[in-house]
Amino acid sequence: MEHLLWLIPAFPLAGFLVLALTGKSMPPVWVAIIGAGTVSLSAIFTIIIGITFLSLPPASAHYVQTLWTWMEISDFHPEISLYLDALSLVFAFVITFIAALIHLYSVAFMAFDKDYSRFFACMNLFVCSMLLLVLADNLLLLYLGWEGVGLCSYLLIGFWYEHPENGYAAQKAFIITRIGDTAMAIGIFVIFYQFGTLLIPDILAKAPSLWQPEASMATITALLLLAGALGKSAQLPFQTWLPDAMAGPSPVSALIHAATMVTAGVYLIARMHVIFELSPTVQLIIAAIGAATLFIAGFSALTQYDLKRVLAYSTISQIGYMFLALGLGAWTAAIFHFMIHAFFKALLFLAAGAVIEALHHEHNMFKMGGLRTKLPVVFLTFVIGSASLIALPLISSGFYSKDQILWFAWASKNGNPLLWLIAISGAFITALYTTRMVMLTFWGEVKTEVDRLPGKLITIPLIILAFFSICVGFIELPHNFGSLTLFSDFLHQVLPETLLKSTASGEVFFQLLGALATFSGIYTAYILWYKQPEHLEKLKRNEMLLRLYSFWHSGWGFDQLYQTLIVRPIVFIATINKNDVLDKIYQGITLISVALYRSLSFTQSGSLRWYIMGLVVGAIIILGIQIML
């Protein structure tokens, strides 16, 4: 199966090439077949290869396929080479499978768009880049995929380019992630000179012998890589681009800004976990950033009007959970949460897209309502996705993944009560804003009429995703009931086990606390936004709370902060220096020569008598000098 690895990214690439070259003149049916078909083929191949990988595990625990040597300069010879192990298999599966469903959904969703082929071309290119990212066996190829997904994200956020704000949102996303990418590039330089190679397995093998734990080089490298991961995964302090990225079409938000690209940071950290393990400081930083992000983004999600922005902030918050898990050393828990999150968040975005489409591009939740009966399938699937997001105990898969993280926040070696407290209050807030979102959208009275019902192509992917949102969780059950560890056992081929504190006990108690947080969140939201809205009115009269509300609404003022601290000064300097201050030096030289020539040419008056005068005076001076000497 090894030699078929290249087909996984090659199908979407071929789709991209065909669509980019001839898509404009192709009938839409063909565009849809090529666009969705290539990705589906890629998904099928991933599943086939995955099944082979699972049933006949290779001795080395990975597949490698080298396509060609990218470049070869003395001891620097990165290859275009694909590498599949347990970790990349999980990612590749999630990417291709969800991408195939989203492509299918888009066939109907984007059907009336004038740039149908451009959409599919970009989506296919995205899938190809994302697959290269997770299948790369060296950091340079990983970086290719990393930047490639950034490009596609840019193109797709700005897909409806007629509105300049979409373009600016796309620009913002690209530039902010680029800041992280640049740090990551420097990290790659450091790694190359430390290890003499960019091959990921080699780096991971060599790192423990090269660096002592807490070595400063390890910390620096880990920090640089972390910056790249934070940028892509929209974590503090780079989180500001993701809410604006919702300017893109809903399938894009589902695929790129929820399920796959934004979790590239999680992949990177998990992939390079050895380096991070060598630097406990950085691990603590990751955990702290994750915790802070999930908390901040949760409050922002609570105050949004725009359905998609709620989901965007919730994505930031959920990735915060993944980062928290990574920081705690709970590698498999992070990846597990990534997978579950990919399913339910893709589902939520697609369902939200269906709602928005049905309500004639209405994004504001306060103008929705009562859609429970109008859009039953969308309602049901949305509720299932929300249940998973809330981590509704026992029945939703979100519970199984988030519960693990909460438990590790308390019990793992790196865990501490503060992190646990933030994580569990995050769970409460998640329940609060999710319930609010569901209440506002589907309950209450009808405020906007439904003008277009979603077709089969839209509902089928929703149903499949809903099924997965419920069931995938059952492959990994907590120790105290079931104790099924299929997923983590599989990943332990690549990722180390999570170390627990020796004193850790009472998992049941913490599960109950988690459930309590969830249910109290749901109940509070139910009271405030459905049952007794007068409580909310009372709260709204509080000056302090209102101010806090608008502060949270604006994403804790990060945008304004960056605007005043970074953007404005640079733009100001650039604008005043538009004509290049250095050119003034040369213009000065020109001006001086012009002035000199003017004053000299003044003596050329044309008056003969002045010339003679000059002659005489000159003669006298010369004679005078002669006599004097």
Binding site: L144, R178, D181, A185
Partner: protein
């Protein structure tokens, strides 16, 4: 002999085009096109012929050598020779030459003969610069490429052309004179120590001189090349010349003329004055880094499309200086790649700016916007080359910039980090350009036509080359390797094996 034939071909073709141009308007461009096609076929077959030897990894860098006395009493000879670097740049010269002819197919409306005469003579001068192994001859070609360029800008340029042409001419001429003084001084210094008067490059290579003398001589060369490159603070001629020149002029300026500066440093400054170059290196790298960031910030603030692209050249050429003075193989390979990929990517952007000007009659960004709707093909290609300019992996510029930064990181960590930050700025200006030109509200103007077949051909060639260079640059790397190894041998000391702590 092929080298002499190439120059003769270009000069002869130019003269023929000029003469024919007296009574026919379309024939000159066909003549120039065929001239260049013959040239590039000859060069590529030469490359393929020698590629076996290159691939084996022979250490002898010189592929072909031709020497003939010219003015023997002064020790001046007609000495041409090429190595891998020259060969690559020569192919680039002919390649861009063909594109220059194609992109001025419709743009030029008057003096057809004289225009193509100038174009071919510039190319002849540039080819000569890349081949000459006699310093006097080198200077001779250096001036030859200057004068037709002056006419090209001054006659066929846009509104402010005369100012731009003067500025270009004075900057390059004045700096060229400094170089000429240095050449003469080197000639006499060499004669003093050996008693033999010669301008021959290989004879002058090992000239013994006092460090002080060497420093001043190097500065003479260095300033001439720095102006051409251009290195901040000598860059101010570039935006004016680029923005006023006709499309083909901008293409040749950005694609080839700037490269002669980098070539000069690689060929003359480093081998002739290795010791001084070593002490000068940190300053040169610093200037390079300043250029990267300063050029990028200036590019960001421009409102004139061609000026914007011109400033991106300043930024990209900063990488070249940074890489050259890092003195290691990775960085130098990156430099060679950067010379080629920058020529292609910036050339493509200039060609598109020219096409937009033909259609919209403006270069102002504020008067554009929403053009994607009417020109989706151009939009897609523009995005591709904007991405190349910001160093997207998979395209040639990434390979170049990554190698330069990786190599420079070995020499100086603290200069490489700000240079890498330049990549963020390049993203900012590239995206701003795309946003302003192609995105935004769709204008309600008369329909604008997308690419014609001729333009599709130009862009397809450029696109294929930039992707090829991005995904499989090995032929270029192999061809340049012997020459780069030679330079690396000049600087074997403290820069190597220095790991960062």
């Amino acid at each position: 002999m092929i080298l002499v034939w190439l120059i003769g071909l270009l000069m002869g073709g130019g003269l023929l085009a000029f003469l024919v141009g007296q009574w026919n308007k379309t024939l000159p461009r066909w003549i120039s096109l065929y001239t260049l096609i013959i040239g590039i076929i000859a060069l590529i077959s030469f490359w393929i012929e020698h590629y076996e030897a290159i691939n084996i990894g022979s250490m002898e860098p010189w592929l072909i050598d031709f020497q003939q006395d010219w003015i023997p009493s002064f020790g001046i000879s007609f000495h041409l020779a090429i190595d891998g670097l020259s060969l690559l740049l020569l192919i680039l010269t002919f390649f861009l030459g063909i594109l220059a002819i194609l992109c001025s197919w419709k743009e030029i409306t008057e003096h057809h003969g004289f225009y193509h005469f100038n174009l071919l003579w510039i190319l002849a001068g540039i080819s000569g610069v890349f081949m000459a192994m006699d310093l006097f001859l080198f200077y001779f070609f250096w001036e030859i490429m200057l004068i037709p360029m002056y006419f090209l800008i001054g006659i066929w340029g846009s509104k402010n052309r005369e100012y731009a042409a003067y500025k270009f001419f004075i900057f390059t001429q004045a700096s060229g004179l400094l170089m000429f003084i240095s050449i003469l001084a080197l000639y006499f210094t060499h004669a003093q120590s050996t008693g033999r008067y010669t301008f021959d490059y290989f004879a002058l290579l090992g000239t013994v001189m006092a460090p002080q003398t060497a420093f001043w001589l190097m500065m003479g060369f260095m300033i001439a090349f720095a102006v051409k490159l251009p290195l901040v603070p000598f860059h101010t001629w570039l935006p004016d010349a680029h923005s006023e020149a006709p499309t083909a002029g901008s293409l040749i300026l950005a694609g080839l003329l700037l490269k002669t500066g980098a070539y000069g440093i690689l060929r003359f400054v480093l081998p002739l004055f290795p010791e001084v170059a070593k002490t000068f290196a940190p300053w040169a790298m610093l200037l390079g880094v300043i250029g990267i960031i300063y050029g990028a910030i200036l590019a960001f603030s421009q409102t004139d499309l061609k000026r914007l692209i011109a400033y991106t050249s300043v930024s990209h050429m900063g990488f070249v200086i940074l890489g050259i003075f890092a003195f290691n193989e990775l960085a130098l390979q990156g430099v060679v790649m950067q010379l080629l990929t920058h020529a292609i990517s910036t050339g493509a952007l200039f060609i598109m700016a020219g096409m937009l000007k033909e259609r919209l009659h403006t270069r102002q960004l504020d008067e554009m916007g929403g053009l994607w709707f009417q020109m989706p093909k151009m939009g897609a290609i523009a995005v591709l080359f904007a991405m190349a300019a910001l160093g997207l992996p998979g395209l040639g510029n990434f390979v170049a910039e990554f190698l330069i930064l990786l190599g420079a990181f070995k020499s100086s960590v603290w200069l490489t980090v700000p240079a890498t930050i330049g990549l963020i700025f390049s993203a900012i200006y590239s995206l701003r350009m795309i946003q302003k030109v192609f995105l935004g509200p769709i204008p309600e103007t008369a329909p604008i036509s997308d690419f014609s077949w001729r333009e599709v051909f130009i862009m397809a060639v450029l696109t294929i080359s930039i992707i090829w260079l991005g995904l499989y640059p090995q032929p270029i790397i192999n061809t340049a390797r012997p020459m780069i190894n030679q330079i690396e041998h000049l600087f074997p000391t403290e820069f190597k094996n220095q790991t960062i702590k």
